[in-house]
């Protein structure tokens, strides 16, 4: 590489990593969605100052000096929050070399920390951002063990600092896939789990597993000779068993959800979140009574396997109606589909015998509710004063199929919506070659 090119490269890197300045912005004349479950507010204003929401709603004054964006005919919402996704862990899922979703050949499981694997410049992040997704909880979806490791909460801004919170939660698989990983049976899952928690508790009792990253504690205490877990894995589970780090439990079958809730009998400090919960509607009483929140896969309605025989699209609506705190997540799909899933839950409210969510609650299920379940309700997820200036402007009702994103701001900073897809679109709007090959059009 020539020195000149290297310099140019360095400058480009600097430009990418330099913190962009969040200016004062007022978005006016828009239909404003706060994201807290309330109904959309016509003709509202959203004001951002220093990267945070200053005010949002009807009758909000525009501060002097603020850049004003006239959003007549458009909708303004908080950025979408997608919980339990694999975004940022691969460039092309099917291209193994680019994919960090699996770690089944390594010695560790619970100790795995996903945050160093996340590539903020992956195209899937850029495309999701252009779809209005501003925050995500990245979970280790495919590991060879019941513990998938520690997930990260990220923002989708086009800068080099994606991590909002590293090691935000531990992830464990119950049910069919957990059983396969544990040795072939659900019984093995529960024995493994209890042993792991006992070893972590024992380590904590000896003064181990402390500090911001408990794996890295110096002068770690001795452990009993019959320990099954590696030291790193046991240390990583100390925050789980002591309730400092939430445990995300993927469970689909009604009985698996009950067994997950029962873990709290033996380990009362556990802070559980149920992920998936396809048969959650059969366990609404227990879920509601436990106060354990659910990140539900939204539209499962097929007996895709024997742990999802009772699948119905009314699952989320039934759980919500019974008082379960439920947000959408774990689509196993593109994060930008979140509005379509939420919109489908609204459509169910018109179907005889079906349960869904009203519009405000449906939008909350992809913004403030998952943010709250992630423990980030005071940081992002709605347009309440003081929260992050994560704002999306849409050209219509954001849950409607034909609507799209016009602008995205994260922490008050306007984001680029240009990506591989938009460049291809622009190049091939007219498919035939012009005076030069297509390769010269960029």
């Amino acid at each position: 590489m020539s020195p000149r090119k290297m310099l140019l490269g360095a400058a480009a890197l600097l430009a990418l990593s330099a913190p962009a300045i969040a200016e004062d912005v007022a978005i006016t004349n828009a239909t404003v969605v706060i994201g807290d479950g309330s109904a959309p507010i016509p003709n509202g204003t959203v004001v951002l100052r220093a990267g945070k929401v200053l005010a949002a709603g009807a009758g909000v004054a525009v501060p002097a000096g603020a850049r004003t964006i006239d959003a007549t005919g458009k909708w303004v919402t908080p950025g979408l929050v997608v919980a339990v996704t694999d975004i940022g862990l691969f460039d092309v899922e099917g291209v193994e070399e680019s994919n960090d979703e699996r770690a089944d050949k390594g010695p560790f499981n619970a100790a795995l920390d996903l945050s160093p694997a996340i590539n903020p410049l992956a195209q899937h992040i850029a495309v999701s951002r252009a779809g209005g997704v501003t925050r995500a909880a990245v979970a280790p979806l495919r590991t060879g063990a019941i513990f998938g490791g520690q997930g990260a909460i990220i923002d989708l801004a086009s800068d080099s600092q994606p991590i909002t919170q590293a090691r935000a939660f531990q992830y464990v698989e119950l049910g069919e896939s957990g059983a396969r990983a544990a040795g072939g049976s659900r019984a093995a899952v529960h024995a493994l789990l209890r042993n792991a928690f006992m070893e972590a508790r024992e380590l904590a009792r000896r003064g181990g597993g402390q500090g911001t990253d408990p794996r890295l504690q110096d002068a770690a205490p001795e452990r009993p000779g019959d320990a099954l877990l590696t030291r790193f894995d046991a240390a990583a589970l100390v925050p789980v068993v002591t309730g400092r780090q939430p445990l995300y439990v993927r469970a689909e079958r009604a009985s698996d959800i009950r067994m997950a809730l029962a873990l709290k009998t033996d380990f009362p400090a556990l802070k559980l979140v149920i992920v998936g919960a396809t048969e959650g509607w059969m366990v609404t009483k227990e879920l509601a009574a436990s106060g354990v929140p659910v990140l539900a896969t939204p539209l499962n309605d097929l007996p895709a396997n024997f742990e999802q025989l009772a699948a119905t699209q009314s699952n989320v609506g039934r759980m919500a109606a019974a008082g379960v705190r439920v947000g959408l997540g774990a689509f196993g799909d593109q994060p930008r589909y979140a509005p379509q899933y939420a919109g489908n839950l609204v459509s169910l409210t018109k179907l005889p015998g079906a349960s869904g969510l009203d519009w405000g609650r449906a939008f909350a299920a992809i913004s403030s509710v998952p943010a709250g379940i992630l423990g980030m309700g005071d940081k992002f997820g709605s347009l309440k004063t003081g929260l992050a200036g994560d704002v999306v402007i849409w050209d219509g009702d954001p849950l409607e199929n034909t609507s799209g994103v016009v602008r995205v701001m994260i922490d008050g900073v306007e984001q680029s919506l240009v990506n591989h897809q938009t460049k291809l679109r622009d190049r091939y709007k007219v498919p035939t070659e012009g005076a030069l090959p297509k390769a010269y059009e960029w």
Binding site: E93, L302, N305, L309, L351, G353, N401, G404, H420, L424
Partner: protein
């Protein structure tokens, strides 16, 4: 096979072989009994036993009607009787006295939705290994296998496709592990004890083919050809050459035995069997179009075709449809250039667009997928009317499947495959209210008993639940 097609085929053969009647007779006498058997076998050994269920003469009134052929009627009237569409018109259309009137004011009517690419039944729910019957991945070309021999008619997925997607006809394809994966089967979305009882009467067969990553990966991993894209093409061409020889021998009366694989390929070359070709990349689709010319067949549709937008002009010229998702992309290398404006750019180029699912969940929302593509097109400056978008789910797939004479649009005399939606079907807030297939009311959102429950779900949790 339909009688008129069989007759036409025989006439064509006669023409080729008959400079004079006497000579023709002499030639036929020289054909051995074995060769005769190889030429005059039963092409339809598993015939459709589907019979329409009873319906009553019905008039849908006051609806916005999308006719599937690009037409839109406000305050429209649709008349169904004896399993057929009787008439489609405005509020002034005369309704015979014996017709039951369904007030559809504020609602929308479309033809039944058609999915050209489904694996319901051959990859059914529950998706356990014991049910996995979609890929005969033991040889790179298996044109001898027929999807209908894998389809489990008790797949619960058929009911979801009906209730949530308004699907009335669908094509079940073999998977894409093989270059030539086998024959498709076209079904009416009506549960039956047997697969024959679901088969769409008179629908032609298609041959599923596949380009690109899958065949070379599957067979490369087994240490056999093909392991590259050039290997893919070489195996394809060698197989078509064999088929040409087989066909020539058959015409000359020199075939000594039947070959199930070659019968399928010869059927393609005869124009009786259509080609549905899984292919992502533009450059590979262009190669396949030339290969089709080389051997004298037509590609009815490219499936997935995430890069079709790059070659809309070529696809238009070839008369080949692109059966696509609205916005799947980036899950494998050959899908990395997928864009959500694919459908819009193709439409603008005058090429045929079909929205397909290839997915037991996506088949429940083809209407929504089409709407997403419409919105993305609009933002790219390509305005496509709702009525035209509905065509992507109805008449266009019917055409690419060879069943457009029978279904796919609301035209007098066609099958009364009709969906009444509780709102604009392109809205995320709309769902099927009622679905008729051949004039029989087989789904009614207001009547739990008009909601099919497959054998598999009986007596299990969730039986008969709203799905």
């Amino acid at each position: 096979m339909r009688a008129h097609k069989l007759l036409a085929g025989m006439a064509a053969l006669a023409l080729v072989a008959s400079p004079g009647l006497a000579e023709k007779k002499k030639k036929e006498e020289t054909v051995s009994p074995a060769a005769k058997a190889a030429r005059e076998f039963n092409k339809n050994p598993f015939p459709s036993t589907y019979r329409p269920y009873a319906g009553e003469p019905t008039a849908l009134t006051g609806a916005t009607v999308f006719d599937g052929a690009g037409g839109r009627i406000e305050n429209g009237t649709v008349l169904l009787a004896d399993g057929k569409v009787v008439a489609v018109g405005g509020a002034d259309l005369t309704i015979p006295a014996n017709f039951r009137r369904v007030d559809a004011a504020g609602k929308f009517v479309t033809p039944g939705i058609i999915d050209i690419h489904s694996h319901l039944g051959d990859y059914p729910s529950p998706s356990v290994q014991a049910n996995s019957d979609g890929n005969e991945a033991t040889a790179p070309t298996t044109p001898e296998v027929w999807a209908e021999h894998s389809v489990w008619p008790q797949d619960p997925g058929f009911s979801r496709a009906l209730a949530n997607g308004g699907i009335t006809s669908l094509q079940i394809l073999p998977g894409s592990a093989n270059l030539m994966g086998g024959r498709s089967v076209v079904l009416k979305n009506v549960y039956s004890r047997t697969i024959q009882g679901m088969k769409f009467p008179g629908a032609p067969y298609s041959l599923k083919m596949a380009c690109g990553e899958n065949p070379k990966r599957v067979y490369g991993a087994k240490g056999r050809m093909p392991s590259t894209r050039m290997g893919n093409m070489a195996v394809n061409r060698a197989t078509w050459l064999k088929a040409q020889e087989y066909r020539a021998k058959r015409a000359a009366g020199k075939l000594e035995s039947r070959d199930l694989a070659m019968e399928t390929l010869a059927g393609v070359l005869d124009g009786e069997i259509l080609i549905q070709n899984h292919c992502y990349r533009a450059d590979e689709m262009a190669l396949v179009l030339d290969m089709a010319k080389e051997f004298g067949y037509k590609v009815s549709a490219f499936h997935h075709a995430t890069e079709a937008y790059k070659i809309g002009d070529l696809l238009k010229a070839a008369g080949t449809c692109s059966a696509i998702w609205s916005d799947w992309w980036g899950f494998k290398m050959e899908s990395y250039d997928g864009i959500p404006e694919n459908a819009g750019i193709l439409q603008k180029a005058g090429a045929c667009v079909v929205i397909h699912s290839d997915d037991e969940n996506g088949i429940q929302r083809l209407n929504q997928e089409a709407a997403k593509a419409q919105g993305d097109a609009r933002r790219a400056g390509i305005d496509i009317s709702d009525a035209e978008v509905i065509r992507w789910l109805t008449l266009n797939p019917a055409t690419a499947m060879g069943i457009s004479q029978q279904t796919g649009s609301l035209e007098a005399g066609k099958m009364a495959d009709v969906v009444l939606w509780n709102g604009n079907p392109l809205s995320v807030y709309s769902r099927p209210d009622k679905v008729w297939i051949d004039g029989a009311l087989l789904f009614d959102a207001a009547d739990p008993k008009r909601r099919p429950v497959s054998d598999f779900e009986l007596g299990q949790v969730g039986e008969g639940d709203v799905k």
